[in-house]
Amino acid sequence: MKLTKDQVKKVAKLANLPLSEAEEEESAEQLSKILDYIDQLEKVDTRGVEPTYNVTGNENVMREDEIGESLSAEDALKNASKTKDGFFVTKGVFESE
């Protein structure tokens, strides 16, 4: 399948990935080539076959809701680029772009 530059732009936005003009063009070309290869899966008859998302078959593994050891606030914040009053600083969510 061929990906157009517009599709690449849309996917990059979904992925929150800033791409340069050159990267968009390269992406369209390389992803199209990879998807062409992947399209061979169309030939495989998968009627009645269940998908495998996890080989262990585990689903919703639960544990007791108990308080255990955790990182101190200081440790948790030490790799952040911006902090204030013991919190992470993020961009505003409700501000328009």
Binding site: L3, Q7, V8, V11, A12, L14, A15, N16, L17, P18, L19, E23, S27, Q30, L31, K33, I34, L35, Y37, I38, Q40, L41, E42, V44, T46, V49, E50, P51, T52, Y53, N54, V55, T56, N58, V61, R63, L71, D75, A76, K78, N79, A80, S81, F88, V89, T90
Partner: protein, 462 residues
């Protein structure tokens, strides 16, 4: 002792017990060798001068408290984890120390080591060639005797393939045997941490140290660990030979287009692997032809499932809690995030992600059926020996196809061992031994017998 650094892990432990040298002398010997050789190899991203126990090299992406864990990426170039991965805590408890963090393909995405943001690692056997990837630095460090052993991660072959290309033992345990807590996730339904060592005996010991549930990886459950990896049963069972062992050889692995037209198995590699199979037969094994008919679809399935999981896992790098801006990702992570986001997007999810998950079931069933006829499956690890740096870097698809023999086991979650088996064009060739889910014991036993019989002693000249 002048050859401290050539000892295996079990030999090192014995020598320390017998007080042939001290832990200080051991670390000095390795640190000296690193200083001398690593400028040529670029296997390490961080060196820990304070290492004072049995020195191990750890893949960058495995969290080490106080040692930078960049995953060879600019986006978390200075990330310093506030905690140790479970496997690190367990190694420290066993008297191991981290002598350095190793180079790798960025976020474990690559088959050559060239996708590191900090320059490629070189193959110790020939410095103009790739070491393989993504655990490039870990494998090169062990091959060049810059560490007693190493840890890597294997998502589609990232321990086994470089181990084959650099002539060391590499082991991917069954999915769920080792907790991934503290390893930076790439593709969560495939990722496994595993050992890289100088002998099969070593990787067995390391696996015993690091395996088992910790309550932080819900796919690593106590119920999966009913079978151990210990050798007790082995010696009694095998008695040094392979009598009674059924070795399956997949006919598809030796057919010409293993991946696609013109991408078949190199004849020099084929000869080494076939000779190893002949050796196994002479050791008493029964060779059985088996069929894994969906092998040809494995790379396509893998690239959809892996990329989809990558796009989700790498969403955490938002520059808020750690790291910088998302434009700092290298070309390969960007490519896989894009591919995965596309495969999961509205309108394409069923055609790509779900279709791939169904074909994955067929690949898994191929193995289940094959293992009704045999105890282990033997074949190549990589279709070629190590290639020249730069040779495949501009063609992502050709690079992806170099993992054609390692990917199927990853999709099925079964364990796989790469054991050095010989040389082609002067470069090392490994043979791959695959086992039933959670039956690491059998493949380690078989690997140990084969290793002993082949008795390969060559080391890279550095």
């Amino acid at each position: 002792m002048s050859d401290i650094t050539s000892l295996t892990l079990t030999q090192t432990i014995a020598a320390l017990d017998e007080k042939k040298f001290s832990e200080e002398e051991l670390n000095n010997a390795y640190l000296e060798r690193i200083k001398k050789l690593d400028p040529k190899l670029n296997a390490f991203l961080e060196i820990n001068e304070k290492s004072n126990k049995i020195p191990a090299a750890i893949k960058s992406l495995i969290s080490t408290r106080g040692l930078k864990t960049s995953s060879a990426s600019k986006i978390i170039e200075n990330y310093n984890p506030p905690f140790n991965a479970t496997v690190i805590g367990r190694l420290l408890d066993k008297g191991v120390s981290v002598i350095g963090k190793t180079n790798q393909d960025e976020f474990a995405m690559g088959s050559s080591g060239e996708n590191s943001a900090f320059g490629s690692t070189k193959n110790p056997w020939d410095l103009i060639k790739v070491p393989g990837g993504s655990s490039s630095g870990s494998v090169a460090a062990v091959a060049a005797d810059l560490a007693v052993f190493a840890l890597g991660t294997d998502t589609g072959g990232s321990i086994r393939q470089p181990a084959s290309l650099c002539g060391v033992v590499g082991f991917k345990p069954s999915y769920g045997r080792v907790s991934r807590y503290g390893a930076i996730s790439m593709a969560s339904s495939l990722d496994q941490i595993g050992p890289i060592g100088k002998s099969v005996e070593d990787v067995r010991l390391i696996l015993e140290w690091i395996q088992g549930p910790d309550g932080f990886d819900s796919n690593c459950q106590p119920s999966s660990h009913l079978r151990g990896a210990t050798r007790v049963a082995a010696d009694a069972h095998l008695g040094g030979g392979l009598n009674g062992v059924k070795v399956g050889v997949p006919k598809e692995y030796f057919a010409v287009p293993a991946g696609r037209q013109g991408e078949g198995l190199d004849s020099g590699v084929e000869k080494v692997v076939k000779d190893a199979i002949k050796e196994m037969e002479e050791l008493g094994a029964e060779i059985v032809e088996i069929s894994l008919p969906n092998t040809q679809y494995a790379v396509a399935v893998y690239y959809i499932i892996m990329a989809s999981e990558v796009s989700s896992n790498l969403a955490r790098f938002d520059g808020i809690r750690f790291g910088g801006d998302r434009s700092l990702f290298g070309a390969e992570p960007k490519r896989r995030i894009m591919l995965g986001t596309f495969a999961l997007s509205t309108g394409y999810y069923d055609d790509y992600y779900n279709k791939a998950a169904k074909v994955r079931t067929l690949i898994k069933k191929d193995f289940e059926k094959a293992f009704e006829k045999c105890d282990v499956i033997v074949g190549p690890v990589s279709p070629t020996v190590a290639w020249k740096l730069g040779e495949k870097i501009s063609d992502p698809l050709t690079m992806y196809l170099s993992d054609v023999y390692t990917i199927p086991a990853s999709l099925a979650g079964i364990p796989g061992l790469s054991v050095p088996a010989g040389f082609s064009e002067g470069m090392p060739v490994g043979v791959q031994i695959l086992g039933k889910y959670m039956d690491e014991e059998t493949i380690l036993n078989v690997g140990e017998v084969l290793e002993k019989a082949l008795d390969i002693k060559e080391k890279p000249k550095l």
